[in-house]
Amino acid sequence: MKEDSDDTMRKRRISLVDGRYLIFYTFDREDASSEANVGEQPPAPERLPQREENSRV
């Protein structure tokens, strides 16, 4: 749904001596204004199921 929401990531493509490509990815720090869907906070600590002792039945 959000095709190119990632405007804080930059690509720099170079050509190696043998013709292969290499791409450097660098990242801007996200600022508060550049959010697409970042209204949410970082994910909450994992919700854990209750511990099971030994599940062999």
Partner: protein, 333 residues
Amino acid sequence: MSELRWNPLLGEWVATAAQRQDRTFLPPEDFCPLCPTETGGFPTEVPESDYDIVVFENRFPSLRSNPEIPAVEATDLYPVRPAQGVCEVIVYSPNHNSSLARESVEQIYKLVRVWTDRFRELGSLDFVDYVFIFENKGEQIGVTLHHPHGQIYAYPFIPPRIERELEQATEHRCRTGRCLFCDVIVEERRERRRIVAENNSFIAIVPFFSRWPYETHIYSTRHFQSLTDMSSGEQKDLAAVLKVVLAAFDKLFNISFPYMMCMHQRPVDDGSYDHYHFHIEFYPPLRTANKLKYLAGSETGAGMFINDTLPEEKAAELRSHVEPVAWVEAKNG
């Protein structure tokens, strides 16, 4: 020399890639080709002294965008085609002694965004039908390069494992009207014992039908088909659940835990795959700290895996090592 040869017994392609290993430039003993190139030092694959995440074409690819003409003649029984595709290496970090498990969740989030970009770019190539993102990790599965990295294969066909899952998903949809993977999530949530971790967007389980002792699957809880369908919140949640699972793996035996990580997404051949569902499968080869599970006669020759452990117990083991993820960098301005 490389080409794709058809296996008529199984109805699948085999890549025959006999590379001449050109060893003109012998690197120093402790040389790592994935480290940054130090000023005045022996040149690595990455011609700069620092980087964040780097992607490059594999030096010895089994598939290439301009493939050679096959060296063997095709027959009716034995079709042959050029080994066209792309093989990329993706270096997760400039830190030689790191691993995905040890990287910060912020760095894993960056990786998720790079994966997404690679999926989009490789998926748009007209000769590519499937983009497979994976990692082989650990000497136990034959990886000698310890620098944290993964790979991407862009295939000119849909590989058989994916075909099989697609068929099962189609069959399930026809029979029940529902998504097979969404139903797996419902079933695993009802049972609960095989859940390793969960966050807002992903669930990690040791599935009911695990073939490997610590086989772990990560499913998106929302029904979608690929990285490019994710919101940035979901990308962050994927980074978080990966960090949790990988850290738990490492704590199991207090070693850098070996695994194969395989990302299963929809094909990119313009077909309709609404019934498929994004997930990542981990196959760790260890049964105990120093015992390997081998793929022997039954697994390899017949296709039936024998898992001599209970997924319910292995999930509990992993769960006992789950710790909350800490995002270090503040994300607000």
